[in-house]
Symmetry: C2
Subunit: 221 residues, 2 copies
Amino acid sequence: MDIEARPPQTTQQYVLDQLRRAILTGQLAPGSAIRQDALADQLGVSRVPIREALKILEGEGQVIYRPRRGYMVAELALEDFLEVYRIRQILEDEAVRRAVERITDEDIQRLQDAHADVVAAGQAGEITAMAAANRRFHFTLIDAAGMPRLRRFLSILWDASDVYRSLYYSEESNRERVDREHKGIIDAVRARDTDDLIRRLSEHRAGTVATFREFMAKQES
Amino acid sequence: MDIEARPPQTTQQYVLDQLRRAILTGQLAPGSAIRQDALADQLGVSRVPIREALKILEGEGQVIYRPRRGYMVAELALEDFLEVYRIRQILEDEAVRRAVERITDEDIQRLQDAHADVVAAGQAGEITAMAAANRRFHFTLIDAAGMPRLRRFLSILWDASDVYRSLYYSEESNRERVDREHKGIIDAVRARDTDDLIRRLSEHRAGTVATFREFMAKQES
DNA sequence: ACAATCAATATTGGATCCAAAATAAAATCT
DNA sequence: AGATTTTATTTTGGATCCAATATTGATTGT
């Protein structure tokens, strides 16, 4: 399923991919320090490409950097999570408004394909694959807006909350809900019904937020 | 006037500051390649901190990176400029909505101080200082929203268009207009009149966009 | 004169090394 | 024993070096 067969062009790109994966899977836990030397040994590279990859992640807010103290994986408090979702709301509303005007039949086909992958991965219980397909689904819509900066910001926001979104998919009932809501979203796109689409997407996001709220409440106890 | 008397903590920070300045002043022109070796000589440092600083700027979209080809200063076509301002519009609307609810009297005092600096710099004809004070003015408002990610995105968007905003200030009539509009903005904040504030800010931005449009039209001929 | 090929040069990417700072551990003092 | 200072260790920041790739310039052939 993974298309990325060819190796990355540079070592820093390779390191960046690995770091993303480690953060996503929780191998590098939120709040933990990132030891450059250990990581270099583990990946079989020197510290130089690691430092460059970390600078990229710093820019995305995935890691926190303190001069002469090094990097640590960013944590996401409830407050932060809500901010991420609030900004997503605002930016995605704008994105789909533009997208509806510009979207092609091929795009809609891609939307359907991505959703098929979501369902397939969901039934197979492959949470990671499902998260990836889900992201493809939503970014097909976002890409159709043709706004590269907006796309990049949204990408950063999705990255920030990716870890916790997997939580949502781990529940069977939520997976069914995603299936249902995605179908509704596709219908709204086909009908070019912007208001309906925005409403459905808002509803769609609300589920994840609720799950995160519960999760954080349980964490405290 | 420059408060930043103490030197940066690390060399990469110093290089980052210098690169920002060079891009802002046009010393590094949009579209031009950035030669790491030459820059290292010029700043009296090695290439390592330069590479790290460039990675930060890459993340902000200020420079474009192509593997094994190096970095070049990003260009801003009219289309890009309009996207930047559209996203600014959306995010700043949200920011001020929150800000109005949370803003304190000290914040409003800071707003006034910043505006006084804008006017003073404007009368002295110091465009760079005026741009800096103007930024302080607007980010006082944005900061009051208490949304760090939104603040960061807006910071990136301001950076992207900073070069061209100076263009706007270079005209005397525009400087007067800024003075007038800022006063109106402060009044709206004091009155906690969100709708009026949003309207005024929108109007305020429109001037810069118009100037950029004219500039680009002239460029072509 | 122009295009294509080959050689020379410039530039980036990564590894290794050392100094400076931060952290952890040991020793000293009250 | 507990707090404080001193010493040892770990870790980051920066410089230098070399290999791999890209770019430029020269050479050859048509």
